[in-house]
Symmetry: C2
Subunit: 263 residues, 2 copies
């Protein structure tokens, strides 16, 4: 097994970096070969932009998908993208390690998706979802959050964090990945002092020990469910009676039932 | 009225740039003073990182919230952040103009949130949501997507795009903004040729004309509903019977009703 851990945190001694290190050691202990892509350390450029492309289909006007497809075909992808694509295609298992900032990934990791999920290489109209390039590979999000676990539950004020991650899960599924349920580590706070800092250190050490256990037995982690291709009709609308696995999809109200008189 | 349009697209002649221009002219025509922050043109750095901070509370270890609060208090925020904060606090109405990439904002705009929504300046534990710094201001997302409108509906395969934008809406609400319903322009594709390119140009021209009309009458645009502070109990859990306005929040199953025997 070959594993890639993509780390998106600006501080090399951060708790996120420690979790990436714990996952690496744990995976190695069960026989994985592991690469770590620390995006800041690698100097990965976060923003998709024409300046990154050394060969261009249209030097006058930048269209991301057009240039991604062209550079993939001409084998002249930007060097930092090339390296990430190679690691992604090399790996059987991919972990994205990041802190939740404003209910999403840090910009550098969003830019990793924008630039590394190359059109014409990682997906195309004919190769996506159930025919995706990354079929047979697994991916998983490992996320820290400052909020406490109590407010990140389905009826908590900050909502169900697992559902907030849906667009990332769906993007990985779009490439063909089997997505494992994420690991969420709440209550991760910086800038504490005195007794609170001591208590936080104890808590983070426990979390790291738990992380080691988790990554030593991937088979115990269930997959995130997605709809199957044939849950949709030819207009790509959800068929009546199909299950719903996205927080962004819902069935149309049944025109008879919604009248409330169907007995 | 003072309006700020934040534009996140790497191509100066893009359809996104044209929409930003149309919004600017339309707002000016009804008397607004307008500033446009073209993030790529301004050279905005997309990734939150210690290297941006010229004064540090802890030079040895970077914690984003700690350094944001310190730099805000010492009035030594990074220059590019300072400029964006000034424009944000200057404006009564803020538009974020961006293409939907991988079901989210481009990295540079996520980085604008990560860096410009400064802890200790734009929000704090005591100033957020209904006591937020930006109370009385309005914000709105203007979004383009390559997918067709038909698959971005509630029962479409790509899900309800309006709900995908929820984390951004909630972040703006967190700062205190009144968030207007977004404008979504689907079927925006690059790289077309021949008849399809002619048809696309006609379609985009129509969309721009509609954009001008929309921004000339902001009062016609409804606000996105959010839960009120007292919809939550002291543990920040949704109270029974409270409305649900987030796709990530749901009521706990009623322990009696869920047994199915309550008559």
């Amino acid at each position: 097994m070959k594993s890639l851990i993509v780390l998106a945190h600006p501080e090399p001694t951060s708790f996120n970096a420690a979790l990436a290190g714990a996952a690496r050691e744990s995976l190695q202990s069960v026989g994985h070969e592991v690469r770590v892509s620390d995006l800041h350390l690698r100097g990965f450029a976060p923003d998709e932009h024409g300046r990154h492309y050394r060969c261009r289909k249209d030097p006058a006007r930048f269209d991301a998908q057009t240039e991604q497809r062209f550079s993939a075909a001409q084998e002249c992808l930007p060097d930092d993208v090339r390296r990430e694509v190679d690691d992604l295609l090399w790996a059987d298992f991919v972990v994205l390690q990041f802190p939740l900032w404003w209910f999403g990934m840090p910009a550098i990791l969003k830019g990793w998706m924008d630039r590394v999920f190359v059109y014409g290489k990682l997906y195309s109209g004919g190769r996506r979802l159930h025919t995706g390039v990354c079929r047979g590979k697994r991916a998983m999000l490992s996320v820290t959050a400052g909020s406490s676990a109590e407010v990140c539950v389905p009826d908590g004020q900050e909502g169900d964090t697992r559902l907030i991650l849906w667009p990332v899960h769906y993007s990985l599924h779009y490439l063909g990945f089997d997505v494992l349920e994420p690991v969420l580590r709440f209550g991760v706070r910086g800038g504490l002092e005195g007794e609170a800092a001591v208590e936080q250190r104890r808590y983070l050490a426990e979390q790291i020990a738990e992380h080691r256990r988790l990554f030593s037995d991937l088979k115990a982690i269930p997959s995130v469910p997605f709809n199957a291709a044939d849950d949709y009709d030819e207009r790509r609308r959800l068929k009546p009676g199909a299950p719903v696995h996205s927080p962004f999809i819902r069935h149309r109200p049944d025109p008879i039932r919604s009248q409330g008189n169907c007995g």
